[in-house]
Symmetry: C2
Subunit: 360 residues, 2 copies
Amino acid sequence: MIVGIIGGGQLARMLALAGHPLGVRCLFLDPAPDACARSVGTLLIGHYDNPRFLDRIATEADVVTYEFENVPASSLKYLAPRIAVRPGVEAIEVARDRWHEKQLFAELGIPTPPFAAVDTFEDLEAAVATMGLPAVLKTRTLGYDGKGQRVLRAASDLAAAFALLSGVPLILEGWVPFVREVSVIAVRGLQGETRFYPLSENIHQGGVLVQSMSRDRDPVTAMAQDYAQRLLGRLHYVGVLALELFQVGDQLLANEMAPRVHNSGHWTIEGAQTSQFENHMRAILGLPLGSTEALAHTAMVNFVGHLPDPSKVLSVPGTHLHVYDKNPRPGRKLGHATVRADDADSLSQALGQLRSLSHC
Amino acid sequence: MIVGIIGGGQLARMLALAGHPLGVRCLFLDPAPDACARSVGTLLIGHYDNPRFLDRIATEADVVTYEFENVPASSLKYLAPRIAVRPGVEAIEVARDRWHEKQLFAELGIPTPPFAAVDTFEDLEAAVATMGLPAVLKTRTLGYDGKGQRVLRAASDLAAAFALLSGVPLILEGWVPFVREVSVIAVRGLQGETRFYPLSENIHQGGVLVQSMSRDRDPVTAMAQDYAQRLLGRLHYVGVLALELFQVGDQLLANEMAPRVHNSGHWTIEGAQTSQFENHMRAILGLPLGSTEALAHTAMVNFVGHLPDPSKVLSVPGTHLHVYDKNPRPGRKLGHATVRADDADSLSQALGQLRSLSHC
């Protein structure tokens, strides 16, 4: 079996590594000649809308998926009549535009922070007048890891932020006093079977995820799963979907969804009965899903900008290292470590060691 | 980091899959253009003693290992002055010759079935007179999976078996009334740190392994580990070593050693804290070893000659599939399934399902 993957970054790489044992080879499409998936499959070096390579994928692959939501929907629409695209085109169309995404949440009764579309400076002023400050001005599309957004704290911030970001459609999102950020990773099979991983509790720094911890039987689990289930059903979804949520008091507000495997689910590689990567592959291939139960107390620490000495990482008990074969660059995700422990205290101790290694 | 691997079969393939997350790429040397590791690294298509390719490995790789014991020792000797070869040349020289291997066992006080070198028909008659029948006549080198051997049950079997196998050095091994076959998978790091996986209890059919089950806290564990430890120390071993043993009464008799990752350790991929493949890579790269503890009740079933429907395999609870991307052929190992369960009864039930799938 051959799976076409739009994108050749670390998510594609880890999908391919999960695919090989299932007898699956991957064909990646990415404009970067050094895309880090290149060593685990066949890399087609071209833009995401390159018709020659899209044709090749449609001809050679059995199914197509994508590793990020900024794939042009037009590419998926081009492919869809000729080859199964999983998850579908609609998931991309919704997820690549923060405003469409929030509209869908609202339509499905999934609470969100306040939000408003901003096309003009007058829109921005009106939205700020309604929802107050602080608030976050974001580009509707193409943002990730805190890129393409500015926090507005005072009325005097509006003009500079608008000048910096405008020219593309924007969205203003109300700032919410969240107690923590969580995400739910869900997977839906071709026949509609749905499974959820234990909730991930996430820590971001500068807009970039630095740590996720699995939270078995967390009190807000049922609420998070209910919201994810509404999305899966509405989108006739096939594959892994991540829904990021803010917890405010005992309520959850949806921040964004990712129609793909997700950084906050990397702990599942060693921490769950079946990793999110294997389950995404199983889902899009129409195979039975694997158990999403956690194996232990488990967490993940990202290595951003630099990779610590592997010997030091692997000296931390219960740790596995995952490097992405990418050239170091400030702010770039270069790898992560997963850690598995018998109890919460041991996990916390290991996490402390890994977090301190991630800084030096 | 680049690891050179002599051999490009399924063991090399699984080593490479364990290496990618550690940032390791593999360079395989194998004469078969369709060697199944080809899709997870760079395959050099050439004989194991091809000097041009050996030179390339010495130049490009950081360390060399091998996936089977029938590599010519001359190739490793050629490489050894220029690049670290782990495990070393001596391990191959011992393991590729059943007589040398048994001699080493004897030297280290590791009990074995009776054995005798057989070069002539007179040697065979003399050995049979001493140890009786049944006995097994084997080629000293190049045998695997029951190939290159004949069971002698009556005096009338001698001539035909000798005619079939002679022309190369032979060994006669006394048949022992074993109650079961077990193996111990050990790993020794570059600094001499040693760890042992829980014992594997193995079932062979027609000389081919069909099932291994992990046996946590098995009564003969200490004895098996003691024997393996003697070999590791004597050979200044680095990497994973497997020692296959017959249990006769409450004693263990060494059958053979494999200086490499081993089929009876495949359950460790999902069944142990750290797989044998990852630990072999960690050891030869001088990285800290990972825990060898089992995660659950766990076992492995081989798929020999044909691969069952993946949907059926993955419907068995707790199961993961590992296919080798090899063309089917009778008697050929094409893949395996690992299974993990909370208790012995669930494991046994899952194993029953997998064994029946392996037959149809």
